[in-house]
C-alpha cells in the first residue's frame, strides 16, 4: 500500500515537473530537422531576452524573443555555425545579450575576483589562527 502511494506520488510529481519546465517555443517555430532544432534550443538558452533581461529567449514570451528565436532558426537553416550566430547577435546587441559573459580583458575581474577573495580569506584565517595560538 505504502509502496503504491509512493509510486503515484513520485509519478505525479514527475508529471507536474515536466509540465512546469518553462519554455516559450511555439509549435510552428520548431524545425523539422531534429539536430538543427536541438542546436537552436541550445543557442536560445544562452541568449538573453533584452526586454526581460533575466530570462533567456528560450523562456521568454516577449515578441522580440520570438523574433530572435525565429532568426536563429533561419540562420541555422542557411548553414551558419553557432559561433557565427553568437557573433551576429553580439555585433548588434553587445555582450550583454549573452547570459554568460565572455572571458575578455574587461571581464577578467568578474571571472577571477571571486577566487582572489577566496585565497585572501584563507590567508586571513591562516594568519589569524596562527596569532591567536601564540597569544
Amino acid at each position: 500500500m505504502i509502496n503504491k502511494i509512493f509510486v503515484t506520488l513520485v509519478s505525479f510529481l514527475f508529471f507536474f515537473n515536466l509540465l512546469n519546465i518553462s519554455y516559450a517555443v511555439e509549435p510552428n517555430e520548431i524545425m523539422k530537422n531534429k539536430d538543427h532544432e536541438i542546436r537552436a534550443r541550445n543557442i536560445s538558452k544562452n541568449v538573453r531576452c533584452m526586454i526581460c533581461q533575466n530570462q533567456s529567449i528560450d523562456e521568454s514570451n516577449a515578441p522580440l524573443a520570438k523574433d530572435l528565436r525565429v532568426l536563429i532558426r533561419n540562420e541555422i537553416k542557411k548553414g551558419k555555425s553557432d559561433d557565427e550566430i553568437y557573433f551576429f547577435l553580439t555585433e548588434r546587441y553587445g555582450d550583454f545579450i549573452l547570459l554568460k559573459p565572455p572571458l575578455k580583458l574587461n571581464t577578467l575581474a568578474l571571472w577571477f575576483l571571486p577566487f582572489v577573495f577566496l585565497v585572501v580569506g584563507v590567508l586571513i584565517l591562516f594568519f589569524y589562527n596562527k596569532k591567536y595560538r601564540k597569544v
Partner: protein
C-alpha cells in the same frame, strides 16, 4: 593586535556600503543597455517607404548631414508622448528626421501622422522588425543620432524627455563644431 585586525572588516564594510549608496543616488537606469553600434556606421537596409513610391535605401539617405533616426509605432504609447519633442527637433532645430515605422500597419501610421503632425522627412517601413534587430533595438521608441559621415553617435531607449531633448541638442552642437 587582534582587536586592531577586527577594524579591517568594518572599514571594508563601510566602503562597500558607500559604493552601494553612491550607485543608488546617482542618476542612472540600470536596465538601459549601451548600444554596441556607437561609433559604427549605420547598418544597411532597404525597404518600402510610407509616403514615396520608391524604395528607401539607407546608403542613399545618410552621410550628408546630421540625421535623427526614430523607431516608432502607432501602437506604442510612449511614442505618442515623445512626438512633441520629435516635432520640435524638426521645426526648431531644423533636423532631418527619419522615422522607422516598427511592426505597424501603414494605414494606421498615415492616420497617426496626419493626426499628430509629421516631423519625418521619410518613413521607411519595418514590417517584421528585422531592421530594428540590425540596429540593436530592443524597446521602442528608440532614437539614434547619426553624424554627417553616417556614423551612429548616440542611442536613447525610451521616450524623449526634456532632459534628453537638451542632451541631444548639446551633442548635435558639438558634432557641428567638430566639422
Amino acid at each position: 593586535m587582534v582587536k586592531q585586525i577586527l577594524i579591517i572588516p568594518s572599514i571594508f564594510f563601510l566602503i562597500i556600503v558607500s559604493i552601494f549608496f553612491y550607485l543608488l543616488i546617482i542618476d542612472r537606469n540600470p536596465s538601459e543597455i549601451p548600444s554596441n553600434l556607437i561609433n559604427k556606421t549605420i547598418p544597411f537596409f532597404e525597404t518600402e517607404s510610407l509616403f514615396k513610391n520608391k524604395k528607401f535605401i539607407s546608403s542613399e539617405e545618410f552621410g550628408n548631414e546630421i540625421v535623427l533616426v526614430n523607431f516608432f509605432a502607432t501602437w506604442c504609447k510612449p511614442c505618442r508622448d515623445e512626438h512633441g519633442y520629435i516635432k520640435k527637433f524638426q521645426s526648431k532645430e531644423k533636423l532631418r528626421i527619419i522615422g522607422i515605422n516598427y511592426k505597424d500597419d501603414p494605414e494606421k501610421a498615415n492616420a497617426w501622422l496626419k493626426d499628430l503632425g509629421n516631423p519625418y522627412s521619410d518613413v521607411p517601413l519595418d514590417k517584421n522588425g528585422r531592421i530594428a534587430i540590425d540596429w540593436g533595438v530592443y524597446g521602442i521608441p528608440e532614437t539614434f543620432v547619426i553624424s554627417s559621415d553616417g556614423i551612429i553617435k548616440y542611442r536613447h531607449v525610451g521616450p524623449i524627455t526634456k532632459k534628453i531633448y537638451k542632451k541631444i541638442n548639446l551633442l548635435i552642437a558639438t558634432l557641428k563644431l567638430k566639422k
